[in-house]
Amino acid sequence: MLTPALVLLGVFIVVPMLLTVWLAFQDWSTETGFDTARFVGLDNFSAIFGPTSVGRDFKGALVNTAIYTLGSVVLLLPLSVLFGLLVYQQRVRVGVVLRTILFSTYMVPMIAVALVWSKLYSPSEGPINQILGWVGLPGSTWLSSPNTALGSIVLLNVWQQVGYFTVLAVAGLTQIPGSVYEAAAIDGANALQRFGRLTLPLLRRTLLFSAVIAVINAVQVFEPVALITQGGPVGATNVLTYHIRRVGIERSQGGLGSAMAVTLILALIVTVVALFALARRGGDE
């Protein structure tokens, strides 16, 4: 019963994971067999954190990924709760329609999302700057300037994923018993107080789960960067998944790429542990 699943997961996830850790300490070209790997201690790590172009590019990608992740989480969580309340409320009957529309964007291939948004963002031929002009706002450079490119990719990512997190928020909202709100209403709490003192604290577990998933999704951003910006302009959208693949596969520097991958997984573990600690501290208050 367990054999097929465990063999497949073992061979195609556990073994490559262990190989990644091993290769991080080797000098190895991805074009050759594993037997050509040569142990170099911590050289790969000192290179990717060093002052040369290898180190500068990697540290840039690490910072870009952190900014991208933070931006995605900070936008996705509040929007998911807001949209979740719109879907969950019972007074207006089109909540389910909203859920369908929001979740359908999550079903769209990221590659199509990237293509469509690259046209929407076009400073002169795109409709977004046109709409901004109608309401008297200045247009943006979007993907074409180093200052706005990463933020533009955050926005298209939020657009694609918010439906998924909205569904998680709705699932969390349905777990809150209505009697809690009735009691609060009897005590004279207004809508804002009920939201702040009841809804948000009771959604804490849902929000923690959403935050963890949002972080793990965010470090996987690849298609818009690979297809539209190629990491640019001037490295502004060079994120880790794109950079690791470029180093480890396209440039065949398997050892360096693996050291970067190990750093990524360590950073991810630290982030997730920090999120759990944050949620626990919030719960004690």
């Binding site: 019963m1 367990l2 097929p4 699943a5 497949l8 997961l9 195609f12 490559p16 994971m17 190989l19 990644t20 290769l23 991805t30 067999g33 594993f34 949209f83 719109l86 409320q89 019972q90 007074r91 207006v92 009957r93 089109v94 389910v96 909203l98 369908t100 529309i101 929001l102 979740f103 359908s104 964007t105 079903m107 769209v108 291939p109 990221m110 590659i111 293509l115 469509v116 948004w117 046209k119 929407l120 031929e125 409709p127 657009w159 793990i216 996987q220 690849f222 298609e223 690979a226 297809l227 998944t241 690791i244 693949r245 480890g248 596969i249 398997g254 790429g257 991958a261 997984i265 991810l268």
Partner: protein, 292 residues
């Protein structure tokens, strides 16, 4: 479940009861969010129907003067779209079938068998769910070379035939299947495999449908791994990778309509599947809710 008079929708109105000011605000918010959410996809379809000149205009034209399907015909000139769709369908279908099978079997074992270390093995399986694919990409790329399945569809499919999310989902639902049902089948001499397929599987059909939908869409849309394992073998490309060749065709010039037509074609299968199956899910939830 009790049914109050107020629960029955009166007529076909948008509101469940006499609307108050706050309800109009909620309705407005819903409409605004829905329009913003749907806008990029609407723009994609509209642009695919424009003439090349219309797609180049500043400020942009919203509605095509004479909607036409020329761009769709052009897609087939640039990429072998039929072959790409077939590749996508093969990858998504076989991968989904594999995931369903391995998840059903493993989910059954984790839900109904007692063995030493079960919780630890299960925790290990769950841990793989949170691993970003880039972390294993480099050695995996070399490993499929060793297995001589690189450069073809098998290389895309085989590493993805089992997945932790599927195992988790099946275990959660199979836990709810009564042990008595399974024991009775055992006493009748049914083999374990027969129990899985003729007792357990029919009891968790909604979960199987949900997993099938998610697996199919995920692997139809998946980009990073096929791109890595198929690099250069354009005849093996699924549609999502062929799309990138549309972008580099006649770059920067008149390709906008072409790209939007290709994107529309790639988006349709997962979207249609979702809309169809969502209704099925909602129905099944409502019907089980009334019975229960």
């Amino acid at each position: 479940m009790t049914l109050a008079l107020s629960d029955i929708p009166s007529g076909r109105g948008l509101f469940r009861q006499k609307p108050m000011a706050g309800d109009w605000f909620v309705l407005t918010a819903i409409v605004v969010v829905a329009v913003v959410a749907a806008f990029p996809l609407a723009w994609m379809v509209l642009t695919s129907l424009k003439t090349p000149a219309e797609t180049m205009q500043t400020p942009p034209v919203w509605l095509p003067a004479t909607p036409n399907l020329d761009a769709y015909g052009k897609v087939a000139d640039v990429i072998d779209s039929g072959r790409s769709f077939l590749n996508s369908a093969i990858i998504a279908t076989i991968t989904t079938a594999g995931i369903l099978l391995t998840s059903l079997l493993a989910g059954f074992a984790f839900a109904k068998y007692r063995f030493r270390g079960r919780e630890w093995v299960f925790a290990g399986v769950i841990a793989t769910m949170f691993l970003p694919p880039i972390v294993t990409l480099i050695p995996l790329y070399r490993m499929v070379g060793y297995l001589h399945i690189d450069g073809g569809l098998a290389g895309v499919i085989v590493p993805n035939l089992a997945n932790a999310f599927g195992i988790f989902l099946m275990r959660q639902f199979i836990k709810g299947v009564p042990d008595d049902l399974i024991d009775a089948a055992r006493i009748d001499g049914a083999s374990e495999l027969r129990i899985v397929f003729s007792i357990v599987a029919p009891s968790v059909v909604p979960a199987i449908a949900a997993l099938a939908l998610f697996a199919f869409v995920y692997h139809w849309n998946s980009y990073l791994w096929p791109l890595t394992v198929l690099q250069g073998h354009t005849d093996q490309y699924p549609i999502v990778i062929s799309l990138s060749r549309l972008l580099s065709y006649n770059r920067g010039a008149m390709n906008t309509g072409l790209v939007m037509a290709g994107a529309t074609m790639a988006v349709l299968p997962p979207l249609v599947l979702f809309v169809l199956l969502q209704r099925f899910f909602v129905d099944s939830i409502i019907s089980t809710g009334v019975k229960g």
